[in-house]
């Protein structure tokens, strides 16, 4: 029997971690006697931002983390960030295979699966957001919390005054009024208790989560063929089932939030299209700029965009 050690980027209570642990259970059940995943913990076991290096170096065999936590090594993860598709379509069209290949070449890790996809990000604000005459979002009065993932969009397009904070500090920053707006995924606001301070959700949503399972390549290649097959099959199943599960969860969260008084402000027409285009294009720009500086260059750039972005899937 093969045994893999694993850690996850976020604390155990977060919905995304729960989803990963479900995957682990499925593998351990299906792989009994062949493959076992031994979860060692979350950020308390290996620091959030050190996990990608840890799996590369073989300290741990498997990590569940957003690609954004290793953006410095693999700027191509922005293809997932800017994607308007889910793991279901991109598994089908070969997108994930390409991402896997890039992971193997650039980081020496196997990209096993893109979980919890199909969840996008909203801007959430304390006060009613202001729109200009063109219906565009006016962020001039907002104290917007940012981080490395959002900022290309927030500062360059929206022109916002961004305050960089890690997730763990946002609650107290909202509480004290250090920030009064933040981006976050459609799900999870309630778990983080940020809904105590945030009253408006701005639609449309942008970006996509980029959570994936990566496995040390030497470890992967040392596994029995049977173990590899089970891992890959269960991962592909979980890619699909997690999309469904999280959509249900999103609808529940939205309903619960609306019941508590969360109001939805929707950008319309051209303003919405510009907003989405900017989120996407600023992210692609960043990806292209960083790819240029790395070995291999922008060779995969066009193909990545083609596979992870389908204009037909945008809200019309």
């Amino acid at each position: 029997q093969d045994t893999l050690t694993a850690v996850h980027a976020f604390p155990e209570s977060l919905i995304y971690t729960q989803s990963f642990l479900e995957f682990v259970d499925k593998v351990n059940e299906r792989g009994e006697g062949v493959i076992e995943i031994n979860v060692r913990g979350g950020p308390e076991a290996i620091g959030m931002f050190q996990q990608p290096d840890a799996v590369r170096n073989g300290v741990v065999d498997m990590v569940y983390t957003p690609g954004s936590f290793y953006a410095g090594s693999l700027p191509e993860k922005d293809a997932l960030v800017a994607s308007n598709l889910t793991a279901i379509e991109t598994r089908e069209n070969g997108g994930i295979e390409l991402i896997d290949q890039i992971h193997q070449e650039k980081m020496g890790v196997k990209y096993l699966g893109w979980f919890d996809s199909g969840v996008c990000y909203n801007l959430w604000t304390r006060n009613e957001p202001e729109l200009d005459e063109g219906g565009n979002l006016d962020v001039s009065g907002l104290k917007l919390r940012g981080n490395a993932v959002y900022n290309a969009f927030f500062t360059e397009y929206l022109g916002a005054q961004v305050i960089d904070l890690p997730t763990t500090d946002v609650y107290s920053a909202l509480e004290r009024g250090v920030v009064d707006a933040t981006g976050w995924t459609q799900i999870g606001l309630i778990d983080l208790k940020w809904n105590e301070f945030l009253n408006y959700r701005i639609e449309p949503c942008f970006f996509s989560t980029d959570l994936g399972v990566i496995v040390n390549l030497d470890t992967w290649e040392g596994l029995s063929e049977e173990a590899q097959t089970i891992l890959q099959e269960v991962a592909i199943e979980h890619e699909q089932s997690s999309v469904e599960a999280l959509r249900t969860k999103r609808d529940e969260d939205f309903a619960a939030l609306e019941e508590q008084g969360m109001e939805v402000v929707t950008l319309e027409g051209e303003a919405a299209a510009d907003y989405l285009a900017a989120a996407r294009e600023k992210t692609w720009e960043r990806m292209q700029g960083l790819m240029e500086e790395q070995p291999g260059g922008t060779e995969n750039y066009d193909r990545l965009i083609e596979l992870f972005y389908d204009p037909a899937a945008d809200p019309q």
Binding site: A71, G72, S73, A148, N151, T155, Q161, V162, D164, L290, E293, Q294, P295
Partner: protein
Amino acid sequence: MHTLRRAYDGFVTLMAIVAGAMLVWLMVSIVISVTMRNAGVQPWAWLFTSSEYALLYMTMLGAPWLVREKGHVHIELVTAALPPATQAVVSRAVAAACVLVSVILAWKGAELVATNIARSDYDVRAYFTPKWILTIAFPISFTLMAVEFARFVFGPELMHSGEAGLHE
């Protein structure tokens, strides 16, 4: 030999002065960024990033000097009860163990820098900073710490005072 030692000592002191400047920079950068924010201007992101990096450089550049100043806190309890001659032996042995720890980390640090360059790793914050520019502080600092500890192994002075209690 004498000149070489003085140049070396001067270098360690210089690193400590830079570390002190970093400490002052922490205050200055925050004051500037808050002032900008309250004037309604977006503070330069590098103010924030530079203070985070300053913490790393400050610690690493100042650490060898602190060894020389015997500023790393230690506990003298068991050792204080020993007769002076044994005490001196133990003190030098402990210093030697510190040399070993420093050398291991200096060596792994050098490896890490090589890896960071080979993989062209970046530290991702407001900016993408080549990681080796930061991790290079490890091999330099731990090498100099090893030298400073080695002086307590072979030099005339001991690291321990022989008095029971906490020392810093």
